[in-house]
Amino acid sequence: MAMTVTRTGPAAKTAAPGSPRRAKNFKSRVLVPYAMLAPGIILFLLFMAAPIVYTLFLSFQKKKVSGLGLGKNSQSQVFAGLDNYISALTDPEFTASVLRVLLYGVILIPLMLGFALLFALLLDSRRTRAGNFSRTAIFLPYAVPAVISSLLWGFLYLPGVSPFHFVARQLGVELPSLLDPNLVTFAICNIALWGGVGFNMIVMYTSLKAVPTEIYEAAKLDGCSEVQTALRIKIPIIAPALVMTALFSMIATLQVFAEPTTLRPLANSLSTSWSPLMLVYRDAFTRNDVFSAAATSIVIAAATFIISFLFLRVVQKRAFGQEN
């Protein structure tokens, strides 16, 4: 889709004013732009479009075995119709993983965006001290890869090696293990929160910085307090940034993979199909069934599209209304 857009875009523009049809003109107005676009188009086709088309193709295939399935030509790839999609959508493990991730998102997204907004507003307020340091400190966890941060947090969660549990035990308190089945979602949320607040804060903070200061001066003259300025002026103005961070967070939530995968071997509470993407990974690389994995990926991608689209439809009017 995006490919056709990039292709027709420059073509449409060049065709209209290119009425003096001279050969030289054709070359400079048509060939050159295409030549310049070529690297992008080729890379896009190779590394985006081709894998997507291949995944679509795979999702309609399956493995067919004859006899014992040992030796030459005993296994072949055949057309599967909608089989893979039907089994993906009726798989109770898939439904369960989606529900788990929904719960995870419901806990994580409001907390993450709430903290990010709070920190952004605090950093933007006039009375901030040590702003640069705080901003870097809050942003820094985002620079730690999720696998590394999950390993670090995993250490802190394991009761046998955790300093928190050690201190609590010295004080005579027995802390519950965050890796227990009923708490493990919070354990994963915490890692994502730790890593994600900084990024979202920077996005919001940047858009706060873009607001002309005259507005604040006017508000101050009118007797607005800092809190009132934040609630009545700053938040409504940066609403587009809030929408964008919310959308990114939702997509990231649906795609949660690194944290639960890294924590899984540490405890009994996470299955290899905890999140939808873990299920895809398990099917493709543990069970050697790329066909089911391809179908499940397509379902997840489609769902992500639909959810993002609906979300934008619902909030767009409110968030971007003032711009029209």
């Binding site: 014992l68 040992l70 030509n73």
Partner: protein, 442 residues
Amino acid sequence: MRKSFRAGAVAMLAAAAMLTAGCSGGAGTGSAAESAASDPNQKVELTYWAWAPNLDKVVDLWNQKNPNIHVTVNKQDGGDPAVTKLLTAVKAGSGAPDLIQAEYQKIPTLVAADALADLSKTSANDTKSHFPDGVWNSVTLGGEALYSVPQDTGPMVFYYRADVFDKLGLSVPKTWDEYAETAKAVHATDPEAYLGTFSSNDAGWFTGMAQQAGASWWGIDGDAWSVKVDEDPTQKVAGYWGGLVQDGVIDNKPMYTPEWNTALNTGKQVGWLSAAWGPGVLAGNAGATAGQWKAAPMPQWDAANPATGNWGGSSTAVTSQSKNVDAAAKFATWLNTDAEAVKALVTETGIYPADSAGAESALTTAPEFFSNQPDFYKVVGEAAQNVGSFTYGPNVNVTFNAYNDQFAKAAQSKQKSAFLDAVKSMQQVTVDDLKKTGFTVK
């Protein structure tokens, strides 16, 4: 731009020509292999994908002695990635090495994908007498073909903290009943100490224990596979461990976690049911306890008929894309059965060789971590002779994955009944997967 297009077209044509040449070369594999064998002066280049540490040093010995068959080791990340890469190369039709280090449980999967050459017509077929029957069975899948030459095995033994046992006045358990009693005694003296843990992460470990009890999870019955996970031996093992976990005398946390390492170091894990390669892991994870451990035979179900299982181990296979099957088989035979090679394997890579005679002559002094137990390899060697045979099926990965998920739930619930349900689930998932792919299942 035009010029580069023309150059590209030429390159494409050239590539296509080479591709067809490659295909026709493949068709003539047989004759190429024959001529290589009949003409000893013909120089042959072999590539070998392996992940055992320092294996290239062992291969150097071969290269010095055999200037005409030169082997290059291509280091791999591990068993799983190497298999994934090989399967991709087989699908693509080119890119596979001549030789690959293959774990026993992966062989049926590789054979199913037609990734391995049959070695039964080569010199490798004469090595049968070097290996215990159970090991030989895993590389033949119980049939006439030979898919691989065994390299190392992991006969299971019981490692325990001799100093803690002495202090508590415990004797080494010889049967599983005694093991349960010992576990109770250890836990009674210190509520944080356990004789062992039931690990939902290590399917190979549980498989080894089921094997000891007499299980063989797959079988070939004419043109059909049979799946025998949910049967008496495995149910017995699962029920036994479920009971111990339910009583709280055995820990329910996975192995190979920072927590487990700490427990090994601080003496909260007093024993470990593991394999011949255990000393390396203990030295790495519990270095502070060197000289305090001892190895003993596995506790037995029937003391009159000692048996043990296998945890881990790998073999040397020749791939179906190799154009020099005979030369590759010759190398695989040398690597795993020649006395000098086996000795080098032991000293350089630290494996426990599958070759019985080689193991006996190469493994004379105990590993450093067990310097307090001079007869270490006598204990392990006897265990190696008692490994029963076990047939792996074409979807081991699915079964092992089901083990991880189902036994994680069971271990967490600490209910004996949940352990038995987990076995049932493993059977169900395995059979469903086979049927879904179109295998005939009996």
